[in-house]
């Protein structure tokens, strides 16, 4: 593995990191990849089968390898987690592009607004089977959160196209409380899924 053009500049910041910094970044990046892959599977082909390994592990590995080797510049304005997430996003998008195009595209590093990037514009479903699948998935979430006023409000706000800060304002909650909602939503859906099986 060869050192890239940003190896030495990245090393200056990398040398200041402790294990806890890496652990937080790995945990956030892993969770991000999980959601991103779910989203990309909605939006089109994701060629996870071509990767030759577990897709989450594959992208998580790439997200720090490219910083350590200096292939990607660790931009000063981003924390480690955000830089790793940006790399993972780019690699996932590139894989989707490869799946869509036979020739593929040359590797491009794109810096976009990460908060906008979370919200993909989903292509319309192509088949009746797709339509049924998405409706069933959404119904599954709505059933799981039924009876919880906060979560019901959250999903209704999403349906109206509201984003994180707008929803937080509407619900008058702080970021940390928002995170509790995230945990609650995941827990509710998991519990519901296991009770259905």
């Amino acid at each position: 593995m060869k050192a890239g053009q940003y190896y030495h500049s990245n090393q200056i910041r990398l040398a200041q990191l402790v294990d806890a910094d890496w652990i937080v970044a790995l945990a956030k990046c892993k969770e991000h990849i999980n959601w991103r892959l779910k989203q990309k599977t909605l939006s089109g082909a994701h060629a996870a089968s071509n990767l030759g390994s577990d897709p989450v592990e594959h992208y998580l590995g790439l997200s720090y390898e490219k910083i350590l080797t200096g292939e990607w510049e660790w931009k000063t304005e981003y924390c480690l987690a955000e830089q790793m997430i940006r790399i993972a996003n780019s690699c996932i998008s590139k894989e989707v592009e490869k799946a869509k195009s036979v020739k593929g595209e040359s590797f491009k590093i794109l810096y976009r607004n990460i908060e906008e990037e979370f919200y993909d514009l989903a292509d319309p479903p192509q088949t009746l089977a797709d339509i049924n699948l998405y409706e069933a998935k959404l119904h599954n979430i709505e059933t799981a959160i039924s009876g919880d006023e906060q979560l019901e409000f959250l999903v209704e706000a999403i349906k109206e196209g509201k984003k994180r800060t707008e929803i937080a304002d509407l619900m008058d909650i702080k970021p940390r409380q928002f995170d509790k909602l995230r945990e609650k939503l995941i827990r509710r859906v998991r519990t519901h899924q296991s009770s259905v099986k």
Binding site: L14, A27, K30, Y64, L68, E82, I158, K159, R182
Partner: protein, 135 residues
Amino acid sequence: MGIINAKQVLSDIYGLMMEINLHRADEDVLEDLKENPDPLIENHLLKIKQLKAKLKAEANRVLFQKAIEQIKILKQQGIEEIKNIFNPEEQVQLMPLFRKFEELTKDDEAAILEDQELLYFMEILKNRIDENPEQ
């Protein structure tokens, strides 16, 4: 709910989960992992340490090769010629390092990387030679 919207709503729910995840407080993430350790993260932390060590070894090897090449070039130029690039005051200041450099033998070359002082001196020499190409 329209057919297309179901897909978009799902996509937006996943998007919101990603956004909340990025903004989680570090201490909350660490607390969660303390309660529910994740072997995958521990495994990747180990891989990061291994990769860092591997890259550092490779960087040192490249640095060593460059240092050896630089010594050869500097010695070919002749130490007296190199001294002339510096003014008398600088020559006095750098005298101990010039002496060290002159006495450098092939056996010492392997230890060069450990000698930060000598590497620094070589960097000064190289920069000064680059600034004075006529030398």
